[in-house]
């Protein structure tokens, strides 16, 4: 990206500072994440401060927490449900968001201002739990996985980001297609979408993570235990001490509660962590032509 021109000292200093800042940021993130990882492997017999816990050598780690979770039938079923929600949710969300975002990005669209207002109003008036619950139950979505992702399938925030991206695609490309007689739909399909990989992946990921982590909708709308996604199970594990009166039996055997909590959260985050690096490479390609306009 940069031509081979000799660096001035000011530039060299610039890069040293950038790298140093990044290293500090790295430390800022590694330390707490490392403490969570060591927490998930902490054996039941550990006594000591958190600092000691972070320095525990790997051969003293215990996999009891992971064994307990992965051997749990409910855990496996809920991961499967979460995957379904993720895939169905992202597909629905993109299918619904892209046309709307594109529509809004067409500067010459009749009724554009009205449409824009239509989209912004619900963003501000988050009417809360009950009005949404009434709707979902009337639509017959109770006990369907769709109840988890459908209410949030169009996020105004994501729509506007996508619209902004579409607007940044140079007019010339769209114009030349239009002059050739293409309908807007064709323009969208043949020109815009192929150039939109980065934004589709980004927004898709935004939606996907949101659906994957949602527990509130699942708790309200899913009663069938065969359909419950991971966050519900996690929340029960993580907050169970509020209710568990028959405390004589630990549902998870030998691992300390704190390790179970840490392990369950890390396990829940793994699919996302695995998916992201694959998507990352699409950002590295600076294939966008033209700058992003407002």
């Amino acid at each position: 990206m940069k031509s081979a021109i000799r660096l001035t000292t000011s530039d060299r200093l610039f890069h040293v500072i950038v790298n140093t800042c990044l290293l500090l940021i790295l430390a800022l993130f590694v330390i707490p994440i490392w403490s969570t990882i060591t927490l998930s492997f902490r054996p039941n017999t550990f006594i000591g401060s958190a600092l000691d816990g972070m320095l525990l050598p790997p051969w003293e780690w215990s996999t009891a927490a992971y064994k307990a979770l992965l051997g749990h039938r409910t855990f496996i079923v809920s991961i499967f449900n979460s995957f379904r929600i993720f895939l169905e949710g992202v597909a629905s969300a993109l299918f619904l968001t892209v046309p709307l975002a594109y529509l809004l990005s067409i500067k010459t669209l009749p009724g554009r201002k009205f449409l824009y207002g239509l989209v912004l109003v619900p963003y501000l008036f988050n009417v809360g739990l009950i009005p949404n619950y009434l709707l979902v139950s009337k639509l017959g979505l109770m006990d369907h996985l769709a109840a988890v992702y459908l209410p949030g399938a169009i996020s105004v925030y994501n729509t506007l980001i996508m619209k902004s991206f579409f607007e940044g695609i140079p007019e010339e490309l769209k114009e030349s297609a239009r002059i050739d007689g293409a309908s807007e739909l064709a323009v969208l399909w043949k020109i815009i979408l192929p150039l939109s990989k980065p934004i589709l992946l980004t927004i898709g990921l935004y939606y996907g993570v949101h659906f994957w982590n949602d527990f509130f909708n699942a708790m309200l709308y899913i009663n069938d235990s065969a359909l419950q996604p991971l966050p519900i199970l996690l929340r029960n594990i993580l907050l169970s001490s509020g209710m568990n009166e028959y405390v004589e039996v630990n549902a998870f055997g030998e691992a300390p509660i704190a390790a179970i909590k840490a392990a369950s959260v890390l396990l829940a985050a793994i699919p996302m962590l695995v998916a992201y690096p694959f998507i990352q490479k699409y950002f590295v390609k600076g294939t966008m032509l033209g700058s992003v306009k407002g």
Binding site: I130, S240, A258
Partner: protein, 517 residues
């Protein structure tokens, strides 16, 4: 003619199909139940659970159950949201506060005529008190199933620390303070580090245990102000307004100021608190007998401190010679029935179902599972988890899934206690178990507040509660100086927020029902 025969045949066939469909529909009544799981994270019963089959064949009941979230707030939200959309299930467990709201909205059905349909349940589950617990304005709006054992908590102290420091068991509040001081500063675990404290607690609030919460009640009890309400006829009212309460706060503040109490107490949650004592962080605490001494819960502590020993400690006596570990009330779980279910004619089916659960067959199936698979009977006629496969015994993860409804059948019988709280040997050879402590805990002084559980909430409940509890903590932590003037101002403000009116209404209600002592 052939055509006629064909049509006739089809007609008869259709009739038969329709008839059998109707017959099927006739046979099976679906009951939808939201229950409070014994251990939510263990998962629901499997689809081929023997109870489902039995209910279908014996009573024509198709049971569909959903576990409520284990967190109490989540439970309330789920129930209230469903209530708002008029989508409550046929029968569901509900906490008292939301239940009272639902009654006002007409979303739970009166069940007075169902008690007579449950002869098996009556002896152990329904008595005068339990029916009174769910009676509002003359009608019973739900079933009160026995909750967990009463008085099953108590103060315990690290006996090994006392011995090491040559101290004796504290009997008064001042002696308790001295012991806490020693535990903090005289290195009772002998590891050369200043990492131990005297008293350990966290804020655990219940309806009848507000202010600083249950874990501080042994201290509050020394001043006669344990629990939310004072239920004596002479002195009825909110404990937070009493002058003795001011003195109690002063003592707690003394603990805090001199750092002889674990400083994390304001922000710990229950699991953190339990993890802390298993790591030897403090030496005096109020704990539940099974959380303390059940094999699975004691094991980590035992591993860390094989010679550690928790001895039951009678609650310390205060300046006027009073003492109490805490309060006790009748403790019930409410299961309510929705009016929709009654309208759909499910009343008898629900009664039959609940009643069957209390028969010997139902009691054992739901409480422990199948004999030979999940449990076995030993020589004394006690239920144990020995002599059955390790992966299906009722204490195993798989076994726990078939006993998720046990809270609906248990009534704290001896059979249950023996099965749930077996004895075992600790690392240094002692025989231990929750029952070691139970009898002792129950023998210590407790303040009786029966009836206070039925007090209707004040109109400004949330804000008033927050104001009181927040102010109390601010006093104790030194954010507001604990002076008589400030305390008096606190009481005045409480009244402005509705405390005085609430006390008046509550007093009337308690008098009407004969609960004042």
């Amino acid at each position: 003619m052939k055509k006629m025969k064909g049509i006739l045949f089809c007609f008869v066939f259709a009739l038969l199909v329709a008839g059998s469909a109707f017959a099927q529909a006739d046979k099976l009544t679906t009951i939808e139940m939201w229950y409070g799981a014994a251990i939510t994270e263990a998962g629901p019963p499997p689809d081929d659970w023997v109870v489902y089959k039995l209910l279908r064949e014996k009573f024509g009941i198709d049971l569909k159950i959903t576990a409520e979230p284990s967190n109490e707030n989540d439970q309330d939200v789920k129930i209230l949201a469903a209530a708002a959309a008029n989508q409550l299930p046929d029968i569901f467990m509900v906490r008292r506060d939301p239940w009272q709201v639902l009654i006002k909205q007409g979303l739970v059905a009166p069940v007075d005529d169902m008690y007579a349909l449950m002869p098996n349940r009556a002896p152990n589950h329904f008595d005068k008190d339990s029916i009174a617990f769910t009676t509002i304005r003359g009608k019973s709006y739900g079933f009160a199933f026995p909750g967990s054992l009463q008085k099953n908590e108590g103060l315990v102290i690290r006996k090994d620390w006392l011995d090491k420091l040559g101290l004796k068991m504290p009997a008064t509040l001042d002696e308790l303070y001295d012991v806490c001081h020693a535990f903090t500063f005289k290195d009772p675990d002998g590891n050369g580090k200043h990492d131990t404290y005297g008293y350990g607690a966290f804020v655990e609030l219940f309806d009848q245990e507000q202010y600083l919460g249950r874990r501080f009640d042994p201290i509050m009890g020394a001043f006669g102000v344990a629990g939310t309400w004072n239920m004596t006829a002479a002195n009825f009212g909110l404990n937070a307004k009493k002058p003795e309460f001011f003195e109690a706060l002063q003592f707690v503040k003394k603990l805090v100021d001199n750092k002889v109490i674990d400083p994390d107490w304001p922000s710990l949650k229950k699991d953190d608190f339990r993890a802390a004592w298993k790591q030897g962080k403090f030496g005096v605490m109020r704990e539940q007998m099974a959380a303390l001494a059940a094999a699975a819960n004691y094991a980590p502590f035992d591993k860390n401190f094989p010679n550690g020993e928790w001895a039951a400690l009678p609650p310390p006596k205060g300046p006027k010679g009073l003492s109490a570990t805490g309060i006790y009330d009748s403790n019930y779980r409410i299961y309510a029935v929705s009016p929709k279910a009654i309208k759909a004619g499910k009343k008898e089916a629900i009664a039959k179902f609940l009643d069957w659960m209390a028969t010997d067959e139902g009691y054992k199936l739901i409480g422990w599972g199948v004999e030979g698979v999940n449990y076995s009977m030993d020589a004394n006629g006690d239920i144990t988890d020995k002599n059955v496969p390790a992966d299906t015994k009722f204490s195993s993860p798989k076994g726990q899934t078939v006993t998720q409804l046990r809270n609906m059948v248990f009534y704290n019988s001896d059979l249950e206690l023996a099965a749930r709280y077996p004895y075992y040997k600790t690392a240094n050879g002692r025989t231990l178990g929750p029952r070691t402590y139970l009898g002792t805990f129950q023998s210590y002084p407790w303040t009786n507040v029966t009836g206070s559980g039925t007090i209707a909430p004040s109109p400004n409940n949330a804000d008033l509660k927050r104001y009181i509890n927040q102010s109390v903590q601010e006093f104790v932590l030194g954010k507001t100086p604990l002076t008589k003037a400030n305390f008096d101002a606190f009481v005045v403000q409480m009244d402005k927020l509705g405390a005085a009116a609430w006390e008046k209404a509550a007093r009337q209600q308690m008098e009407d029902n004969g609960y004042l002592q």
